[in-house]
């Protein structure tokens, strides 16, 4: 296990692994998202309370999920890199940040569009909503801190540290609906035991969740490859790979 | 004065800093083709004198004249004719060496980038032209500052310890440039702690403690 971990941590190996995985992720993502969209938008019955507006869930929940998953990926990769001095960790963290930020934006926008018919307003200063907005700011902070350094090594380490410090916000986003009485509804899918949703609504949602995760994986693979290339541009293996 | 009023003259410059009477009636005349080597122990007012001469500091008493006129009265003409290089290299860290030159020299005369590149090559930092000044080494920054002085094509150079941080080759280059400038009828005031190995004549102005 430890050996495998170390092998993966070598840049050329991760570079090749990412290349091998990317098309599979992309393929799975296309299938799952395609199925989820069609089944969710066309075949699933309208919600008895929300009518057809509930269909926004098929993009909102996966986006919101990825916003948290992306941040977690970034923080964990950064922590691994900082603690064990594993350089590819920084590459993964740098690759995850913009992707996660984009899904945070997507969660905010789709959520607001959903909020208007449900709560009568696009925006409210509700704990879940606010903490999600803070998450976006944190992403921005991490990204611009990395860019603010001339020396990429220092930028990597500084933004990894900030990512770790900012991680406190992730549980806040997730649990805010339980800790405070919130406009936003609590977990429906991830509840242990029986989900309260009928299968006809649930299956496309699960497909979308899985599809978005695969999509994240595919994009991350491509970005990690790019990060590794430009970080290792002085090394001989990159030169061989590129000039070949 | 019965001599023709050309070049830079200073008459009885007095400057106090805090409670110290730093410059106590400094006078000199520097005519075209003259290099004035300003020297003296640390803290005797060489930098202070140069700042007075370039008009950044107003002396308590005394006049600085350029071509016979007090410099305050002909400020823009004087500033066109003069270039000052201070203790620090005065470069913008976020701009490249070339851009630094472009925006500094460009305010004095129109100059194409190609010419600035040539000047940078001449002072030995042609390869650093497109690096941000922030990452340059101390000596490279000095060389860029030297290129700026050159590119200004001013008559009067006021240089505060220009040999600082330069390697042996850089020092020789600077000496050659000073020789050339003075030989072509320019005026240079140079602060330095060691003797200047110029081929031409060197006047010396000693500031005593």
């Amino acid at each position: 296990m430890w050996k495998w971990f170390h092998r993966l941590a070598s840049p050329p190996h991760l570079y090749r692994t990412a290349a091998a995985f990317a098309p599979w992720f992309a393929f799975a993502a296309a299938l799952l998202i395609g199925y989820g969209l069609v089944d969710g938008l066309v075949f699933a019955p309208p919600d008895y309370q929300q009518g057809d507006a509930f269909r926004i869930i098929y993009v909102h929940a996966p986006s919101a999920w990825l916003s948290l998953f992306g941040y977690t990926t970034m923080a964990v990769a950064g922590a691994i890199a900082l603690i064990w001095r594993i350089k590819v960790g920084y590459a993964v963290a740098a690759a995850a940040a913009p992707v996660g930020a984009s899904f945070t934006l997507s969660a905010l926008v789709t959520g607001s569009l959903w909020g208007r018919p449900m709560w009568g307003t696009y925006w409210a200063w509700d704990p879940r909503l606010t903490s999600e907005l803070i998450l976006l700011f944190l992403y921005f902070g991490v990204i611009s801190l990395r860019k603010a350094f001339e020396d990429p090594n220092r930028g990597d380490r500084a933004s990894a540290l900030l990512g770790i410090v900012g991680f406190v916000n992730v549980p806040i986003v997730h649990f805010s609906v339980y800790w405070w009485n919130s406009l936003h509804q609590g977990g429906t899918v991830m509840r242990l035991g029986k989900p309260e949703m009928p299968g006809s609504m649930l299956w496309p949602l699960l497909a979308m969740l899985a599809g978005f995760m695969c999509f994240f994986g595919a994009v991350l693979c491509v970005r990690v490859r790019g990060e590794i290339l430009s970080r290792e541009r002085q090394s001989t293996w990159v030169r061989e790979v590129v000039s070949a | 004065m019965h001599e023709p009023a050309v070049g830079l003259t200073a008459e009885k410059i007095h400057v106090w800093r805090g409670d110290r009477h730093v410059l106590r009636g400094v006078s000199f005349a520097a005519r075209p083709g003259c290099l004035l080597h300003v020297h003296g122990p640390n803290g005797t007012g060489k930098t202070t004198l140069l700042r007075v001469l370039c008009g950044l500091l107003r002396p308590e008493s005394g006049v600085v004249r350029w071509g016979g006129d007090p410099i305050e009265t002909i400020r823009s003409e004087y500033q066109r004719a003069m270039t000052y290089a201070s203790h620090e290299a005065a470069l913008k860290g976020d701009l490249t060496a070339l851009e630094n030159l472009r925006y500094a020299v460009g305010l004095k005369r129109r100059v194409p980038d190609a010419q600035l590149r040539t000047t940078l090559e001449r002072t030995g930092v042609g390869l650093c032209a497109d690096l941000p000044a922030r990452v340059l080494s101390a000596g490279q920054r000095r060389r860029v500052a030297m290129a700026r002085v050159l590119a200004m094509r001013s008559t009067l150079w006021l240089l505060d310890e220009p040999y600082t941080n330069l390697d042996a080759k850089g020092g020789d280059l600077l000496t050659a440039l000073l020789d050339e400038h003075v030989g072509a009828g320019g005026i240079a005031l140079v602060v330095a702690h060691h003797a200047l190995p110029l081929t031409g004549a060197v006047d010396r102005l000693e500031l005593a403690a």
Binding site: V99, P117, L229 | -
Partner: protein, 58 residues
């Protein structure tokens, strides 16, 4: 079935449903585009570094 007008109307919520689907898909598309551009730029940087190294050698 898709062609029935009720589908596009989304039960009166079209104004909210379609923009959010559209925005989410746009984010997906942006991610694809920017990841590919990111990779292409990295390649350019590597090529430039190789060139610089060659010119330094010679």
């Amino acid at each position: 079935m898709i062609l029935r007008s009720g589908f596009w109307a989304m039960g009166g919520y079209a104004r909210f449903v379609w923009p959010s689907i559209g925005f989410a898909l746009a984010i997906l598309a942006w991610n694809v585009w920017s990841a590919r551009r990111h990779h292409a730029r990295a390649l350019v940087r590597v090529r430039r570094a190789i060139q610089m190294a060659r010119s330094e050698e010679s």
